[in-house]
């Protein structure tokens, strides 16, 4: 009988970590500027030798350290947050199609973030509150989702998804509306928020995102055994000794925190929380004790890889990473929806 053993966890997570390191190296060595692995190795050597200061000013050094590395760090954090959040939402809602973007939770976070960006000046609120507002927006959207759908298992996949579509439409309209009336309608900036992108400019917020992801990830790991049982149904979980309501509250809070932080720095990147868990379940199974850390590692790698593709696929021009994830996630989503419908309502 196959069981989750420590050696299996080490093997799976070790393999994924190795893959993630390779992806990071590729991301650092790839871009429009002709700076390859050699420059990356030089930068690493400079740090190891303690001569980073003397290397500063060198163009290759600056591009790797100040452009690619910050973007890589944000990609890792945002990808880990979105994939972990996807796994948690899917288990809590018992719906493999759940994803923070599809459900409209990211939309709620983005709308709240834009409220602070657009009206913060008028209301005297600093833009540093954007992540906190995004957390609140994500939490509110999650609560609304629960309220409208009647809780997990009570509405089929389509009911939940329709709710998400409405949330997203409302959030998008709200974002454009607020940005317009606040007078800073910068078409390209709003576009980037709505499609989702990574930018080295947002690196100042990396610390806050890292803390949010660490808290969310920590709670998810602690409660991963509970997630296994909650994924079977609230009543089953309770009959197996789980205080379902308390654990669900903690998981929703921590997930909203992660999604809020991710959205605050990257906008609405979709489908990471759908693609990554789905692919992982096919390979490593459904046990959340392994799935949660594996999703964090894979989500980080997937988003960094997608961003590298977005930076390089069009010669000299850059795609927002959200476009790449949507191009991959959209067809997968339709495939999963068709499969779910052919099996009847999920419950």
């Amino acid at each position: 009988m196959i069981r989750l053993s420590l050696s299996r966890m080490i093997f799976v997570l070790g393999t994924l970590s190795f893959g993630l390191v390779l992806i990071c190296l590729i991301a650092l060595a790839t871009g429009p500027s002709n700076i390859g692995f050699g420059a990356v190795v030089d930068v690493a050597n400079s740090f190891l030798r303690g001569s980073a200061d003397t290397a500063a000013g060198d163009a290759s050094f600056d591009i790797v350290l100040r452009v690619r590395l910050p973007r890589l760090i944000l990609g890792l954090l945002v990808g880990a947050a979105l994939a972990t959040a996807g796994v948690i939402f899917q288990a809590l809602l018992r719906n493999p199609l759940a994803d923070p973007y599809v459900l409209g939770v990211s939309g709620g976070a983005a709308l709240a973030g834009i409220v602070v960006l657009a009206l913060g000046g008028l209301l005297g609120i600093s833009t540093s509150f954007v992540p906190i507002a995004a957390f609140g927006g994500g939490l509110l959207a999650t609560a609304l989702l629960y309220w409208v759908s009647g809780g997990p298992g009570r509405s089929g996949p389509t009911g939940l998804l329709l709710t998400g579509v409405v949330f997203n439409a409302f959030a998008s309209a709200g974002i454009v509306f607020l940005a317009s009336i606040a007078g800073f309608f910068d078409g390209s900036r709003i576009f980037l928020w709505l499609i989702g992108h990574l930018s080295a400019v947002e690196i100042d917020a990396a610390g806050l995102v890292a803390v949010s992801v660490a808290i969310g990830f920590g709670v998810a790991c602690l409660l991963s055994r509970s997630l296994n049982l909650i994924a079977l149904g609230d009543e089953t979980a309770a009959q197996l000794g789980i205080p379902v309501d308390a654990h669900r509250r903690w998981l929703l809070l921590s997930t909203s925190l992660m999604v809020g932080a991710a959205v605050a720095v990257s906008g609405l990147i979709g489908f990471v929380g759908l693609i990554v868990p789905h692919a992982l379940r096919l390979v490593i199974g459904s046990d959340h004790r392994l799935l949660i850390p594996a999703a964090a590692l894979s989500g980080a790698g997937f988003l960094v890889l997608s961003d590298t593709l977005a930076r390089t696929i069009l010669d000299g021009r850059e795609l927002p990473v959200g476009a790449v994830t949507a191009l991959i996630g959209g067809p997968l989503f339709i495939f999963l929806l068709r499969r779910a419908q052919s099996k009847g309502p999920l419950s």
Binding site: M1, I2, R3, R225, A231, Q239, S347
Partner: protein, 286 residues
């Protein structure tokens, strides 16, 4: 599997050890759902060592009674007491260490393997974080073997038939190591052989000093496997206990006519056990 070799055949049925279990008492319990009184003044007990069958027509409150015993519902009045403590005063974990529920069926949205699902029965005995011990794995394997489904251990539960799913749920409940088993039509989807297997397991479970409360629509099998029968009342008096006693006392043609509204034949089979079948006149009449 090394852990497997460490376990003997009886381990799955003794996951809770050999101590005698507690008595569960339903004390004048009434339950209201959506403004409707589902159960009213229900009063009986299940003592260690016995299998009690819960019978009655559809919608009379049998499943509600099981959910009440597992503290999934709160009583409007009266209380359910397990080993001297109201179940509502126990934590989920405390209750899950003593009471295991076997629902009729389940649906999963994720492809958990059978072995994983059965091992989840150990959750009330495990810390919040950690992996299954060798003992947990051995208990799961032993339960699967006892029910003849060890070959399904690595199959996805989404690929099983209704009967196989029912056996998996029963295995999970055994692995939970409870003092009291609550079973909601545990043999509804099973073939004749597996019905006998499961009922034998339930009886063996009770004979080891613990107890089982079984909802069943198969009155002949209930008569063979239960020590006592609780018949719930239909109609205007719905949700009340009509009669409690030994199968031969309760499953009479008159009681069944009142409960189900049809004529039945009740007689002793060649082996002396009670057999209950609908009268042929019922088929002609329709």
């Amino acid at each position: 599997m090394t852990a497997h070799s460490k376990v003997n055949k009886s381990t799955a049925n003794s996951a809770a050890g050999d101590r005698p279990g507690p008595t569960i008492e339903f004390v004048q319990v009434s339950v209201e759902l959506g403004g409707n009184l589902i159960l009213e003044g229900v009063d009986f007990e299940v003592v260690p060592g016995e299998v009690v069958g819960l019978v009655g027509p559809n919608g009379v409150g049998k499943t509600t009674l099981l959910r009440l015993a597992s503290s999934m519902l709160a009583a409007k009045s009266g209380e359910v007491v397990l080993g001297g403590r109201p179940v509502g005063s126990m934590t989920r974990r405390e209750l899950a260490q003593q009471v295991a529920m076997v629902p009729q069926d389940f649906h999963v949205s994720f492809p958990f393997r059978v072995g994983e699902l059965v091992m989840m029965g150990r959750a009330p005995h495990q810390p919040l974080v950690g992996l299954e011990s060798d003992r947990d794995v051995a208990l799961a394997l032993a339960a699967l073997e006892r029910l003849g489904i060890a070959h399904l251990a690595d199959r996805g539960v989404d690929t099983l038939s209704g009967g196989e799913r029912q056996l998996v749920l029963f295995a999970r409940a055994l692995v939970q190591g409870p003092d009291l088993l609550l079973l909601d039509e545990p043999t509804a989807f099973l073939d004749l052989k597996h019905r006998v297997d499961v009922l034998q397991e339930i009886r063996a479970f009770a004979r080891s000093g613990r107890a089982a409360l079984v909802v069943s629509h198969d009155l002949s099998l209930a008569a063979r496997s239960c020590d006592r029968i609780v018949l719930l009342q239909p109609g205007a008096e719905a949700g009340r206990v009509a009669a409690v006693g030994q199968p031969s006392e309760i499953l009479t043609a008159e009681n069944l006519r009142r409960a189900f509204g049809i004529e039945t034949l009740t007689f002793s089979g060649p082996d002396g056990a009670l057999v209950v079948v609908p009268s042929l006149s019922e088929f002609d009449r329709r």
